[in-house]
């Protein structure tokens, strides 16, 4: 029977939970890198015992840690993220030019076919690639050098590249999302990038339908359908069925279309999940009720999933990388809150229960299904 391993990044270290396929009993290990801010921990598809983690602190900057035994032991690898050439400036919050400056890694995404190839999305927004298991990092510079790069502005959390989607059928195709620049797609392995925000509308922009400036919170894609991408935007849940050329809003009957994460069911490409949050100025659930919403129609029609989740006086947020699915059937979901609770569902979201409580603020959650 398959096993499941859940990788949790928190404000004060990483935690790893493991269970058999029934997903009833969980064993928790950690903290790893205690005291470090662990933005993300991610496993390699081709070798689930190969894990990458991205701890940092304000004091000591970025470190990348690698494990080859499923997180029991870790080895620091390369932490030099140097922009290619003279990086120049992007725009600051007030529209003035601001020097490009590496701050931290937000997201790590190993290649679907090679555990030693891994991408890092960083702040200030750029994409880096390692082909030696994280020992050395090289910028995929065509992204940052895109003709619009000088106009990119940070979102409230910083100018972060937080989403990297790789098409497992054609790894030359990737999507990245940057807050608050937008979505970019490459079909040639990163040599060139196209803006992929057609049809998006953001009312806070001077030009609401401008190609660049949208605050994308998260993208999700089913691995079998790389033309279809789902988006949780600063406001609006959207989908595109033509690789980002045109987006349509599918917020439908959601109680709020503001939120951070979005994920796709592993077996059903039209089943998606979001976590509505009250507003951009009130980062907590509507009415103090933590509810996951599921659409089995690819958006538009949504049902609230509430069983086992706090339905009163809950004012915790779920950050953009803190909701994920495993690959079991029925699939499991895992959701970490800013209050340090990790909720799990073993029945596609129908019911939930906490499998870890009182952790530090949860920044990211990933699930590995291990044969």
């Amino acid at each position: 029977m398959s096993r499941v391993r859940v990788l949790v990044g928190t404000k004060k270290g990483a935690f790893i939970l493991t269970s058999d396929g029934a997903r009833r009993q969980w064993r928790i290990e950690g903290p790893h890198f205690g005291g470090w801010v662990v933005m993300h921990v991610q496993g390699a598809a081709t070798n689930p015992d190969r894990l990458y983690a991205a701890p940092w602190t304000d004091w000591h900057g970025q470190v990348v840690q690698r494990s080859d035994d499923g997180g029991r032991t870790w080895e620091p690898v390369g932490n030099e993220f140097a922009y290619v050439g003279e990086p120049g400036t992007h725009q600051w919050y007030d529209g003035t030019p601001h020097p490009w400056d590496f701050k931290r890694v937000w997201h790590l995404q190993p290649s679907p076919s090679d555990a030693d190839t891994v991408f890092a999305g960083v702040e200030d927004a750029a994409l880096f690639r390692s082909t030696d298991g994280g020992r050395t990092w090289n910028e995929v510079e065509a992204l940052r050098q895109h003709s619009t790069g000088r106009t990119w502005q940070p979102g409230a959390g910083g100018m972060c590249l937080h989403t990297i989607l790789i098409d497992p059928g054609d790894e030359d195709r990737m999507y990245v999302a940057i807050s608050a620049a937008g979505v970019f797609r490459t079909d040639d392995g990163g040599a060139s990038w196209a803006v992929a925000t057609g049809g998006l509308r953001s009312e806070f922009l001077p030009e609401p339908e401008a190609p660049v400036g949208h605050c994308i919170h998260k993208l999700a894609m089913h691995p079998s359908r790389s033309d279809t991408v789902f988006m949780q935007k600063h406001w609006d849940v959207c989908r595109s069925d033509d690789a980002g050329a045109n987006w349509t809003e599918v917020s439908g009957n959601l109680p709020s279309d503001f939120g951070f994460p979005i994920v796709v069911h592993p077996q059903e490409p039209e089943t998606i999940y979001v976590v509505p949050i009250l507003s951009d100025s009130e980062h907590y659930p509507p009415e103090g009720k933590l509810q996951v919403y599921r659409s089995r129609t690819g958006g538009g029609e949504w049902e609230a999933l509430t069983r086992g989740l706090p339905q009163g006086d809950c004012f915790q947020n779920v950050l953009r990388d803190a909701l994920t699915v495993d690959a079991m059937d029925p699939c499991g979901l895992y959701m970490g809150t800013t209050g340090g609770t990790l909720f799990a569902s073993a029945d596609e979201g129908d019911s939930w229960r906490p499998i870890a409580e009182h952790l530090p603020r949860i920044l990211s959650v990933e699930a590995q299904t291990i044969p």
Partner: protein, 100 residues
């Protein structure tokens, strides 16, 4: 050559897998930068964590102290204080009181 002591903050002790103090060997007329060079050579995992990659200066939230003095703003080519030279006390690498 002389051996000098360097005291590290908790995060870096754990990262490098060392105890609170490490020793490094430097030339007889060593500077602050020489000690940090030697520290990074002995413990490559500390590259980028005390000084930025490719920079001589300390990271903004890292401070350097010895003999009761704050050396954080001294140039990298500042000679080591005498009691650090003689091994009577360590060069202290300290994380600023910041964060939460």
């Amino acid at each position: 050559m002389i051996t000098v002591r360097v005291e590290l903050p908790a995060h870096l002790q754990r990262l490098a897998g060392v105890s609170r103090e490490v020793s490094v060997t430097v030339g007889d007329h060593a500077t602050l930068a020489d000690v940090l060079d030697a520290l990074e050579a002995e413990h490559p995992v500390l590259k980028g964590t005390v000084r930025e990659h490719g920079a001589e200066g300390r990271r903004a939230y890292v401070r350097l102290f010895a003999e009761g003095h704050d050396l954080s703003h001294d140039p990298p080519d500042t000679p080591l204080p005498g009691r650090v030279m003689t091994g009577e006390e360590p060069l202290r690498v300290v994380g600023a009181i910041a964060g939460g």
